[in-house]
Symmetry: C2
Subunit: 255 residues, 2 copies
DNA sequence: CGGTGCTTTGAAGCCTATCAACAAAAGTGG
DNA sequence: CCACTTTTGTTGATAGGCTTCAAAGCACCG
C-alpha cells in the first residue's frame, strides 16, 4: 500500500508528458459540447501537475490521495467499493477527457475509491482554486454541471439494464457506454479496445468472470460482435443500440 | 388516460383532509434532521392544495401533472419508467414525509413518471415560489439538499445490492429501506405493511412476481421474517442489517 | 525459460424464469 | 349484502441462465 503512494508522488513530472496533445484538451472538448460560449483554455490556470500510471493503482479516498481533481488525458479509471461479502462493485468508469472525482468539488457525497488503469495519463487540478473560479463564472460552472449530469443520466440508464436484464444485454449496454465515452472527444473508432480485465467487467455487470467470457463468446457466435483479443467491434452498432433503446448522452451532443 | 387526470383535478379539496396532522408536519420533521437551526413551519406559505388518491394513479411527467412539488402526507408512491422490452423498472419509492419530485425543483434531470398508490394523501407546493425562497434562505436550502442527498446515497446502496447479489439479499435490503423510510418521521413499527404489490416489488428488484412470492416464503421458512399477508416483521433486524452491512441514511440521523 | 495472472472450457448444481393451474383477495354491480 | 369479475398471490413442473470448481491454454514479464 505504501509503495503505491510512493509511485504516485514519484510520477510528478514537469508540465508536459509524452503524448503530444496539450493538457486538458480532451476535457475542454467535452465541456464545449455542454457550453453555450467558447470556453477556450479556461482551465489551464488550475493545472498542478501530471502523472503517468505505470501499473493499475488505487487512490484511496480516505488517505487524501483525492485532494486534487483528477482529469484523464488518456487511458481509463473506475470507481469501486467493497461489499460486505468481499465482492468488489464497480459503479462507474472514466475514459479520456473525463473528470474522475467531480463529486469532491461539488457535492459532499460519499467518496468511492478510484482505480487508475495502467497506462493512464492524468492531469491534476487545484480543487479549491477551481471551485472559487466556478463560483464567479456561472457559464463555465453550468457547462461542468451539465457535463456531469450527462454522466449521471448515462449511469442511470446502465443501472436499469444491469438490474432488470440478462447478461447479454448488460454486456452490450456496457460496450455501448464504452463507445459513448470514447466518442466524446473524437469520433469513436469502430474497433474498440476493452480497457478492463474480464474480472473487472464482471464486477460492473454483477456477473462472474467465467460468465463474462462465455457471454462475449456467444455474442461473437451470434454475429453481434467481431473480436480479436481485447479488441471488439459491433457488426451493426446502430441496430444493437436501437433494439436496446440505448441513448447516448455524450456523443450525440457534439456541436 | 383522460379520466385519470379528471380524478386528480376532482380531488382538489379545502385545506385540511381527514387524518389529523398538520400538512407538511412529516416533511418538516424529516428536514429538521438535516438542518442546523429550527425550521419550524417554514414551508406552510407554499402549500397550494391537498389531494387524496383513491386508486393507484400515475402522474405523467410529460403532461404537466408534475408542475407542483408533491409531498406525501401518508401513503406511498414510486418513480418508474418503461424499458424497451415492455418491462417496467421502478427506480425509487417515497413514503410519508417524502418529496416525490425534488428533481423538478433543483436539477434538470430526466423526469421519470410517478405512480401514487391508492390511499396516499398529498400536499402540493408551489414550485417556483419555493424555488425563490430557497435561493434567499441558504440554511433551508441546505437542509433540502442534504435530505435529498441522503436519498441518493440510500438508492446507491440499494442499487449495488440489486446488481450484484441474489434475490434474498435484494429483498432484505428493500425491506430495510422501507423500514428506514418509515422510521424517518416516527419510530418505525416492528410490523411493517409492504405497501406494494408483489409485481411492483418484482419490478424494483429485477425479478419476477412468482419469484418474489417464493423468496418471501423462504425468508419466513428460514426464520428471518414473520409474516401475515402484507404485514412483515424482522425477527432480528439488527442482525440482518449487520450481516448485509446495511447503512440507514435517514433514520439514524434523528437528533 | 519458468513464473504469474488472465482467459477459456467442461461438468455439475443452484438460482431464477416461464407456463399453467388454482386459491385468495379485492373491486363491481345489482 | 351477495354473486360476479378482476386482480393478486401461491404452488408445481420444467427449462434456461448463471455460478462454482477444476483444469488447461495463453500471454506477458522478469
Amino acid at each position: 500500500m505504501s509503495h503505491q503512494n510512493a509511485q504516485l508522488e514519484a510520477a510528478d513530472q514537469p508540465q508536459s508528458v509524452a503524448g503530444g496533445a496539450a493538457p486538458l484538451a480532451g476535457l475542454e472538448t467535452r465541456l464545449q459540447h455542454f457550453a453555450k460560449r467558447d470556453i477556450g483554455e479556461a482551465l489551464q490556470p488550475f493545472v498542478r501537475g501530471q502523472r503517468v500510471i505505470k501499473r493499475d493503482q488505487p487512490a484511496w479516498a480516505e488517505r487524501g490521495d483525492l485532494a486534487h481533481i483528477f482529469v484523464i488525458e488518456s487511458g481509463w479509471a473506475y470507481k469501486f467499493d467493497m461489499m460486505h461479502d468481499g465482492r468488489r462493485h464497480i459503479a462507474d468508469f472514466f475514459g479520456p477527457g473525463a473528470i474522475c472525482n467531480w463529486s469532491r468539488l461539488s457535492r459532499f457525497e460519499e467518496q468511492d475509491d478510484i482505480l487508475f488503469k495502467a497506462g493512464a495519463r492524468l492531469t491534476l487540478l487545484d480543487t479549491t482554486a477551481l471551485d472559487e473560479h466556478l463560483r464567479e463564472n456561472a457559464a463555465l460552472a453550468s457547462a461542468f454541471k451539465r457535463h456531469e449530469l450527462a454522466r449521471t443520466m448515462r449511469t442511470t440508464q446502465r443501472i436499469r439494464t444491469f438490474i432488470s436484464l440478462p447478461a447479454m444485454e448488460r454486456m452490450l449496454v456496457l460496450l455501448l457506454d464504452l463507445a459513448d465515452e470514447l466518442g466524446t472527444i473524437a469520433p469513436a473508432p469502430s474497433w474498440i479496445t476493452i480497457p478492463f480485465a474480464q474480472s473487472e467487467v464482471a464486477d460492473m455487470l454483477g456477473l462472474t468472470p467465467v460468465h463474462v467470457s462465455r457471454v462475449l463468446k456467444k455474442l461473437v457466435d451470434n454475429g453481434v460482435l467481431e473480436r480479436d483479443g481485447h479488441e471488439i467491434r459491433f457488426v451493426d452498432r446502430a441496430t444493437v443500440a436501437r433494439d436496446l433503446a440505448y441513448r447516448p448522452f455524450f456523443k450525440s451532443r457534439a456541436g
